[in-house]
């Protein structure tokens, strides 16, 4: 599954936000760099729900910055890239691109037809099994009045007949599905030109704490749901609950003690710690080190 993408991975900057559109990049960054982002797109397979979302992946500016600083990613002005790129696609590239899409669409159509066929066979098998079971049941108890069963059976059979009309026609397997690709690369050239590269993202003052927790192996996500800045997970959020509600402060920033109490209480209520921290200013020249404190209700 894991096709490692070429580095640096282009992060799309569009209208103030950072995105990934390539699933390979998403999987790679999650696995190798513990960067999860937030999936914000609709899952086309089951579009009417919010539980499982899909591409694109929105990255916090902190995440984008971290990846750029690590040399893993670069920021691409995607609006400019499209403005420049779409008008200057070479005839050749366009043709190849369309052929590729056509091939993908054909493949998808064949797969779908095959799957339909499989489902049909399975259904037929089930039907046979059901019939057999029913026959034996009838033999066993003769005054069976399973009217509901009969009804269901008829409905099922009716559906089968209606479906039969489909696959027998040769046309659907001939025409390709149309495909909406995830990314624009191809047909656009895969490497952004230097004038499309943007500088490293601007980040809030909480970045040192973010980066520090990240280097300690935590996975971080936006903290809105718990009224904090980040949620820190001890492992991939796919498999683990978060451990900390994280709030950052600057070294001499006035902290309202009530916020520590409130955060500590909220955290304890949801079995999480409340973590407050920030970069210690040790003086000019020397590197700031991050210190943080975990807060839990003492239970007394």
């Amino acid at each position: 599954m894991d096709t490692d993408p070429a580095l640096p991975i282009p992060i799309s900057y569009i209208s103030g936000s950072y995105y990934l559109f390539s699933i390979d990049a998403v999987t790679y960054l999650r696995r190798e760099h513990h960067i999860c982002g937030v999936l914000i797109g609709t899952l086309p397979q089951i579009p009417q729900q919010n539980v499982f979302l899909a591409m694109p992946l929105q990255l916090m500016p902190e995440e984008a910055r971290l990846l750029v600083d690590k040399g893993v990613a670069c920021i691409v002005d995607e609006v400019k890239a499209h403005k420049d790129g779409m008008t200057s696609i070479m005839e050749e590239d366009r043709k190849r691109y369309l052929q590729d899409l056509e091939a993908e669409g054909l493949q998808a159509m064949r797969l779908q037809n095959r799957r339909k066929e499989q489902l049909r066979e399975e259904a037929l098998k089930n039907l046979d099994a059901k019939k057999a079971a029913k026959a034996s049941k009838k033999a066993a108890q003769k005054q069976d009045n399973a009217a509901g069963d009969d009804f269901a059976l008829e409905l099922f059979a009716g559906g089968e007949q209606a479906q039969d009309a489909g696959p027998q026609r040769p046309t659907p397997s001939e025409t390709a599905m149309a495909v909406t690709p995830s990314t624009s690369y191809p047909p656009m050239p895969s490497r952004p030109t230097s004038d499309q590269i943007l500088p490293s993202p601007e980040v809030p003052s909480s970045y040192p704490l973010f980066a520090h927790l990240h280097t300690k192996g935590y996975f971080l996500s936006p903290g809105l749901r718990f009224g904090c800045q980040y949620l820190a997970y001890p492992g991939d959020p796919l498999r683990f609950h978060s451990h900390f509600l994280v709030v950052s402060a600057e070294w001499d920033e006035e902290i309202n003690l009530m916020d520590i109490i409130a955060g500590g209480r909220l955290g304890t209520g949801v079995k999480k710690g409340f973590l407050v921290g920030g970069a210690e200013q040790t003086g000019p020249g020397s590197e700031d080190s991050v210190r943080m404190f975990s807060v839990e209700w003492a239970g007394m």
């Binding site: 899952l43 499982f52 609006v79 799957r115 390709a176 909406t180 996500s221 718990f226 991939d236 451990h243």
Partner: protein, 448 residues
């Protein structure tokens, strides 16, 4: 919500059913393995939503845990690799119009050519669009922010989305186009003028397909569509709500609730009457020097309580005049309709919900009283009425007299907060009959 959600995870399975109602699965990253019944390319009628998975407290060095994580990531990768396909039978093709609404090229070929050649000249183009807009619609005008049109609109989506021009093409706003392409329901094409034709015989004038990435690049940031607004829009659409732009969408225009001006006035009179009643009470009972409750005959406690109520309270029914101006982001930008509400896009009914969208990264503080006040005043009066509300004081207080929903967005994560303008002062607690012992409908009916 989230805390009950998390707490529920630690409860024994037997208690599962009760907290499940409160559980919002979308609150947390879900394990994509529970989506694995979605083989590629699946039949959408066969898929059902997976249930929530168990999670661990912390990583341990076991292979078992590592294997599960690998499986989860693999499932996620598969689910997200699923392409957006359009079956030839159901495919809906749309065209991106970078320069906004324009008449079909067939109408005047020369004009069209001119237009495309000057497409880079923004100013010029804008003028053209403006000039044309009166003639594009006959009776129905197409919103200027529209940028995608569908020549052959078919399917349920266009019941609540888009506006038709007089050539029966449906024009979509950026959020509508982005939502539809994202859910795999729209095959948007680049204009031939930008990318060149597909060179497929039979498919005349078809530009190359627009990618999801291109759609984000072209549609977010366009016509006031921030990604925060889009996250709110698409999240609600996915749940089946109908969502349309409110008049307050554009930063310049303060939303004016024309529809509610009529009932407002009537209630204003009612409010004024209450006010007068209140003042009358004051004048008879209270002097600046004497005791609040003077000497005399007091026939009931209620009279005394009334006289004790000397602190003025906010009455949401009386309208502040002049109405305060709302300040972005505390301004209604979406009107939302429940799936059950009958919606006609030509004449949208009174919305079920009004939503203001707040980006928590740029607006880091709570709204001020003035901001919230102005926001609430921009919504119509929605007093707590009805059989249940009349009976239950706390429901009335919760419901309030005006309400609005704040959608707070933090980097793709959306939280909804309902703000109600409660009128505590209007609830005369002393006048409430205390719940008698075993009297009335308070006792739950025995179940059979």
């Amino acid at each position: 919500m989230a805390d009950t959600d998390e707490a529920a995870a630690h409860l024994p399975a037997s208690q599962d059913s009760a907290p499940q109602i409160e559980t919002d699965l979308s609150d947390e990253t879900q394990d994509f393995r529970f989506l694995n019944n979605l083989a590629f390319p699946s039949d959408s009628s066969q898929t059902s939503l997976p249930r929530r998975g168990e999670k661990d407290f912390e990583p341990n060095p076991t292979n078992y845990q590592a294997d599960i994580l690998d499986a989860s990531r693999h499932a996620m990768h598969n689910a997200l690799s699923h392409p957006r396909l359009h079956h030839p039978k159901h495919r809906v093709i749309a065209y991106y119009a970078p320069d906004g609404p324009a008449p079909p090229p067939a109408i005047d070929v020369t004009e069209e050519k001119d237009e495309k050649e000057t497409a880079t000249n923004d100013n010029n183009e804008h003028n053209l669009t403006k000039e044309r807009s009166p003639e594009t619609g006959t009776g129905i005008s197409v919103p200027e922010d529209s940028c995608v049109y569908v020549p052959n609109p078919k399917g349920q989506y266009f019941k609540s989305m888009g506006r038709a021009d007089r050539w029966n093409r449906v024009w979509l706003l950026p959020e509508e186009a982005l939502y539809l392409i994202e859910r795999g329901s729209l095959d948007i094409r680049w204009p031939v003028s930008v990318t060149g034709p597909t060179a497929e015989e039979g498919e005349e004038d078809l530009g190359i397909p627009m990618s999801l990435q291109a759609a984000y690049a072209c549609f977010t940031g366009r016509g006031g569509l921030s990604v925060e607004r889009f996250s709110v829009y698409t999240g609600l659409r996915r749940l089946g709500y109908t969502v349309i732009r409110a008049p307050g969408w554009d930063d310049e225009s303060d939303e004016v609730q024309d529809e509610d001006s009529a009932p407002q006035q009537g209630l204003g009179i009612f409010g004024r009457f209450l006010h007068w009643l209140h003042n009358w009470n004051k004048s008879t009972g209270i002097t600046t020097t004497g005791p609040v409750v003077g000497l005399g005959l007091h026939r009931s406690y209620n009279d005394i309580y009334r006289k004790l109520a000397i602190i003025p309270y906010h009455d949401p029914v009386t309208r502040q005049s002049p109405r305060r101006k709302t300040t972005p982001p505390f301004r209604v930008v979406f009107h939302v309709y429940k799936p059950s509400t009958v919606f006609r896009k030509s004449a949208p009914p009174t919305p079920d919900f009004r939503i203001a969208v707040v980006n928590s990264r740029t607006q880091t503080t709570m709204p001020t009283q003035a901001q919230l006040g102005a926001l609430l005043e921009s919504t119509p009066l929605d007093p707590p009425r009805g059989e249940k509300m009349d009976r239950m004081m706390y429901m009335r207080l919760r419901h309030g007299y005006r309400n609005v929903i704040l959608a707070v967005v933090d980097q793709g994560v959306v939280s909804f907060l309902r703000i109600g303008d409660a009128a505590f002062g209007k609830e005369k607690v002393y006048a409430e009959k205390p719940p008698g012992p075993k009297k009335g409908g308070f006792r739950p009916r025995p179940k059979k």
